[in-house]
């Protein structure tokens, strides 16, 4: 399938870049693959960014040595105003194993390139900081995502340091290590602060403590079971990741989900957003001592979680999404509960926000705290809530409509101030928009089908799927294999993009404000580490 616009683009790229551009194919209307002759991604990246203002969404690799004799790197680009994803596929030779790094110009892919190094044993030549990121330093030299590495490999006990932190010099400069086990009930990760008195000079992170082989495991599970693994990538985003995964399979197999299935997914995606945003608003309030606001927020969250259970049998919305739609439809009682809970929630949420708005001290503490400047946010490739509070106007629901989003109108809030207050403000606005979406969607397509039967999934098909989870852009990319299995499943949680935002935002703030700044991003460790 090659549209006219595509052949024009192909010709233009050919003229510009010559025979390095080998071929172009459209697996589907909004997913175009461009095959390069070699691993040198730099010229085309420069061209796409310079000429088209394209944004590099994600970078990942695949071991295709057995079938094609090479590794492939995939570079996913999007262009403002276009729903298409352009995926540049660059072979990395299995003898040299090298590909040129883009991280010096594009810090956004810093971690992702290092992940490719760690998991595939490829080398990002010219990377400004090529140290391990996804495997700790004390791991032996193993490359878990290579096809010749068995999932069940038992590694010997680890010895030595997991990570050598850069030293901090200067009079009165102290290093404060925190973690991996933290004081509260949160996920593990290690923070190393360099402080001069109270202010934080810089923060170094050591993540991937919860790395549990998820991408590799996807290659072993039959697809219908893998849906449950997708739901366990990040528990607070069970439905978003589950949906992203099912969508990927549906795209690969040309399965068309019927209208009510799409609508119900939309409703549940928005309920997941509301639920988490309310929880975060409460948690941010707690961290500045506004405990009453949190008591209300967490109570409101509990009513939504209870609704989740009524709608799906699970408080985390698990076991509902499936390839082909959703598993069950809703009866009158469930629809009634949905309507009344959302209506009363809308009222109570207004009350909660007016409580917060009236609290001068809360505003005082949150304004100009943890500022992420828009230029930094853009350079670092920050997505989701953290991006939109710092001028990054991205939202997959609007930019690459999926589920039933094109049927409803909603506003995407964007602010420039980039502080904790505005990250909270983005959440508040989004909750209000989500309430509107849910109310509009409730009765939409009510009598239509919600699920289609799933045929055997054809082998060797690639598909990209994107979902705007409540944190931001979730990407799943798959290649199907024989017998309803996957050859590869790439997961990108928005958290992976956004940790550097935290590093940036805490600089110059006092260490006592770290918890609230961290909470205002609220990133998923499990989503990052997989």
């Amino acid at each position: 399938m090659m549209t006219q616009a595509m052949s024009a683009m192909f010709e233009a790229l050919r003229q510009k870049l010559g025979p390095q551009v080998q071929s172009v194919r459209a697996d589907r209307e909004d997913e175009i693959y461009l095959l390069l002759a070699d691993a040198d991604i730099r010229p085309i990246t420069e061209h796409l960014r310079g000429q088209f203002g394209a944004r590099l969404v994600t970078v990942f690799a695949e071991d295709r040595r057995a079938t094609e004799g090479v590794f492939f790197n995939y570079y996913v680009f999007e262009q403002k105003g276009s729903a298409q994803y352009l995926i540049v596929q660059a072979p990395v030779r299995s003898d040299s194993l090298e590909f040129p790094s883009l991280s010096a110009e594009l810090p956004a892919v810093n971690w992702q390139e290092r992940e490719i190094q760690d998991w595939f044993g490829l080398k990002a030549a010219g990377h400004p900081n090529p140290r391990r990121v996804a495997l700790h330093d004390n791991w032996p030299d193993v490359y878990p995502l290579r096809k010749d590495f068995p999932l069940e490999t038992v590694l010997p006990p680890f010895e030595g340091e997991r990570h050598i932190y850069r030293p901090a010099f200067g009079e009165g400069v102290l290093q404060v290590p925190v973690g991996p086990v933290h004081a509260g009930i949160i996920e593990p990760g290690h923070f190393n602060f360099a402080v001069a008195g109270e202010p934080i000079l810089y923060l170094q992170l050591r993540m991937f403590y919860t790395h549990k082989g998820t991408e590799k495991l996807f290659e072993q599970l039959p697809i219908h079971k893998a849906v449950f693994l997708a739901e366990s990538i990040s528990g607070d985003s069970s439905f978003s990741h589950g949906t992203a995964f099912c969508q990927a399979i549906e795209r690969a197999a040309n399965i068309e989900v019927p209208l009510r299935g799409l609508v119900m997914r939309t409703i549940l995606l928005e309920l997941e957003r509301i639920c988490n945003h309310v929880g975060d608003i409460g948690a941010i309030a707690t961290d500045v001592g506004f405990v009453i606001a949190n008591a209300h927020a967490s109570r409101l969250k509990e009513t939504l979680v209870t609704l989740n259970e009524q709608l799906t049998g699970s408080r985390l919305l698990r076991g509902m999404v499936c390839v082909g739609g959703v598993r069950r439809s809703w009866d009158a009682a469930q629809l009634g509960a949905l309507r009344s809970t959302v209506d009363s929630f809308a009222r109570e949420f207004r009350d909660l926000i007016s409580l917060i708005d009236r609290s001068e001290s809360t505003r005082d503490r949150l304004e100009q705290t943890g500022v992420l400047r828009p230029d930094k946010a853009r350079d670092l490739g920050i997505v989701g809530v953290g991006g939109r509070a710092s001028g990054v106007d991205l939202d997959v629901r609007r930019d690459h409509p999926y589920a039933a989003y094109s049927r409803y109108s909603f506003r995407v809030p964007v602010y420039q101030a980039g502080d904790v207050w505005h990250r909270m403000q983005v959440r508040i606005d989004e909750v209000n928009e989500s309430i509107g979406i849910v109310q509009n969607a409730m009765a939409d397509g009510l009598r239509r089908e919600f699920r289609v039967p799933v045929p055997p999934i054809p082998s060797d098909r690639c598909a990209l799927s994107a979902v705007e989870g409540w944190r931001g852009e979730i990407i799943h990319w798959i290649r199907t294999g024989p017998d309803n299995h996957l050859e590869r499943c790439k997961i990108k949680d928005p958290s992976l993009n956004n940790w550097p935002a935290l590093v940036e935002a805490v600089q110059g703030n006092i260490i006592a404000d770290f918890p609230v700044i961290n909470k205002s991003f609220n990133l998923s460790y499990s989503g990052t580490d997989r």
């Binding site: 700790h136 878990p144 068995p150 999932l151 490999t153 590694l155 680890f158 997991r162 991996p180 086990v181 509260g184 009930i185 949160i186 996920e187 593990p188 991937f208 403590y209 919860t210 790395h211 549990k212 082989g213 998820t214 590799k216 495991l217 219908h224 079971k225 849906v227 449950f228 693994l229 366990s232 990040s234 528990g235 607070d236 069970s238 009453i292 008591a295 209300h296 967490s298 109570r299 969250k301 509990e302 979680v305 209870t306 259970e309 009524q310 709608l311 799906t312 049998g313 699970s314 408080r315 985390l316 698990r318 076991g319 009350d351 007016s354 409580l355 009236r358 998923s524 460790y525 499990s526």
Partner: protein, 289 residues
């Protein structure tokens, strides 16, 4: 200020009274699948769909062993949907915590017909998960223990040893005004040195093994360890692989297991109260000894 008070007063009391009163849960909640082993004519469809291998089969020529492990179950209900003979049902049972891992495993042996469906049930070993689920008295006992023996407060240190964060959400929910675990005098604390109980989630990752061990070591005796959720009990859907060690009891001695994916707050509370009982026993023997 007035506004805040007004909001607080108009909201009233929201805290539930579980376990003194039964939990009010939605009738849609998916709890433990129950198996009518006498009626079950074919376990294969259920085993085929079960995402975590909680239902596993081992066949030989004329017989089949079926194992159901609630320590692996994520309560998805697929087994019930897949079984046409009505022998598998989704129940609302959630208080499944137990101090004996073996209590979570049922086994059955069937003779097989020529078409591999079940002929007859030869034997079944169904340990009673609900032997320990008289939650009401459990709650009362735990309250007494905390009051009288522990000086009115029980301190829990939570460690995420690799979870997906689903269990953390429910543990956090225990502290919300609805579930309000503090009404039992139970607190979550920052330092393991102050903790009586270690609540562990996740399959234990290779990268968290050491931190988990260190946290446990830092706790004073007597102490109890609770493994939370399918992953904590068995490794769950992640199982064991190059990055995951699997169950918590591979690393630490576990006193109580709380099934669920994640366990709902009431299920967590049930397991925690059960663990308070274990702690009381240990205090008792320590003192006596």
């Amino acid at each position: 200020m007035f506004k805040i008070l007004q909001k607080t007063v108009s909201t009233g009391t929201v805290t539930v009274n579980y376990p003194a009163e039964p939990a009010k849960i939605s009738e849609r909640f998916r709890g433990r699948p129950s198996f009518d082993f006498d009626k079950w004519k074919d376990a294969r469809p259920a085993a085929d769909v079960c995402p975590t291998g909680a239902i596993s089969l081992s066949d030989n020529d004329e017989s089949r062993n079926v194992t159901v492990d609630y320590g692996l179950c994520v309560f998805c209900g697929l087994c019930a949907e897949a079984s046409s003979d009505q022998a598998v049902r989704v129940t609302q049972e959630f208080a499944l915590a137990t101090s004996d891992r073996r209590n979570l495993v049922f086994t059955a042996e069937y003779t097989l017909n020529a078409d591999r469906t079940h002929g007859g049930l030869r034997k079944v070993d169904r340990r009673l998960v609900d032997a320990e689920t008289d939650v009401e008295s459990l709650g009362q006992k735990a309250r007494d223990t905390i009051q009288k023996i522990l000086g009115r407060s029980l301190a829990i240190r939570e460690v995420d040893a690799g979870s997906c964060n689903g269990c953390e959400l429910e543990i956090v929910a225990l502290n919300n005004p609805v579930h309000d675990i503090e009404r039992f005098g139970i607190h979550f604390v920052a330092s393991p040195r102050h903790a009586d109980m270690l609540l562990v989630t996740g399959p234990v990752t290779r990268n968290m093994e050491l931190a988990l061990l260190k946290t446990h070591r830092a706790m004073a005796e007597p102490k109890v360890v609770v493994a939370v959720g399918a992953c904590g009990i068995s490794g769950g859907i992640f199982g064991e692989n190059y990055a995951s060690l699997g169950s918590v009891d591979k690393v630490l001695p576990v006193d109580v297991y709380i099934p669920g994916c994640p366990p709902r707050p009431q299920a967590l509370l049930h397991g925690i109260l059960l663990a308070v009982g274990r702690l009381a026993e240990r205090l008792h023997t320590d003192r006596a000894g």
